[in-house]
Symmetry: C2
Subunit: 275 residues, 2 copies
Amino acid sequence: MSERSTLGIIAGGGMLPGLVAAACRSEGRPAHLLALSGHADPAVIAAAGLPVDWIRLGEAGTGFAHLRRAGVAEVVMVGPVRRPSLAELAPDWRTARFFARVGLKALGDDGLLRAVVGEIESEGFRVVGVDQVLEGCLAEAGRQAGPAPDEQAEADIARGVVVARALGAVDVGQSVVVQQGLVLGVEAIEGTDRLLARCGELARAGVGGVLVKLKKPGQERRVDLPAIGVRTVEAAAAAGLRGIAVEAGGALVLGRAEVAAAAERLGLFVVGITP
Amino acid sequence: MSERSTLGIIAGGGMLPGLVAAACRSEGRPAHLLALSGHADPAVIAAAGLPVDWIRLGEAGTGFAHLRRAGVAEVVMVGPVRRPSLAELAPDWRTARFFARVGLKALGDDGLLRAVVGEIESEGFRVVGVDQVLEGCLAEAGRQAGPAPDEQAEADIARGVVVARALGAVDVGQSVVVQQGLVLGVEAIEGTDRLLARCGELARAGVGGVLVKLKKPGQERRVDLPAIGVRTVEAAAAAGLRGIAVEAGGALVLGRAEVAAAAERLGLFVVGITP
């Protein structure tokens, strides 16, 4: 975080916007939140203690004006944003102009995120990745916590990688759960929490499975990287899993020390892999 | 169903074993049920009104003896079988010999089904596909019921085909739900009912999505074809979907007339596609 300009934080769901806000505060960097209503968690945004504007997803014009007024030059987009239907979007003029160019079909396409990044940059902002703002949040290679995966766990991870890559190649999901070679579940838009809850019910007798999270090939690295946190470790343990494998350099570990402590406490491994 | 020999029906879950039994009765063909405990539905098996032996999955030796005693020469395998863990399997000697050869890893692999078919044939039985026993149960090409899919529905079907093929190529799942270009859900082992229930909760505003079911490339066609029935149509309607696309010649439509009637009543389309 070398620049001292005001950082614009475009905030989707989850705890990540709060973590970025806390990092800015601890480094004394000015920051401004642009929270997406219906996606950002009001409690997380309120607790961030930063100036904030709320906009709907369809209010790109208003959002750009807010960012300019706050003196923002650099923007980070953090936290999941459920892609809306056109009916929910109710686009303002600026948003409609964007979709007139990229096509409404983009609403169902991950190419949308790349287009959004390009659009923000066309307004003169610089879009940076969360890993440039939150030091050391990218998953590292190798074992991060817990016991070493045994042969079955390694085989399950390898199978999960094959499936996650096939899914990623068609722009779907980032997470797969494999137990004893069998794919228990595959994530689309339901989120990892729901995936894990379902796989807990579907698990077979014998040794537990693994959660594999990769970024999609060609995924815009500055937005929407897969992430794990303490809650992911706890949900994985509740689902009977033996560990979590994330893509080194391609996934976020939110609260590295806390994640490692939770994994040690619950006896799960966390490993960074290079598929 | 040209042969008049006793048909052995190896019965997994769902209503399919009952349909096959009914077809045999209506044609006066003798048949014998080998029901897999923990998988076959006792109510369906009892209602079939055929001689039956129950075995565990791990009792291949006992199963072969039952089939021989019943004078079976031709065997059909119908209804889903959840793949067991080794702990659940508790293999008998004959089953263990099989796994000693194909490897325990096969438990997590769809190649297992092909190996099972080969094993049954090595015992002198002929394995036939359910479509050779149930006349006219294979999905046909073109619109089977309901309104014609509009442009968005056609686009959603095309997207579903791309994702289902990618999944099938890595030997996972057969069903995908797509709404307005967005993949709402992907089926692993949870079953289509759970997939549909979840996608109903995840659906966005605006026009509803579609369910796409394909067989996997290279799938052993004599076993485990994807199937839809009246319940699938009802669950799809409850999830807010507008229609169902199945692979022509690669999926079963169980109760063609009833499925069409349910689709017309609920306003859903059912189409057979050739991906």
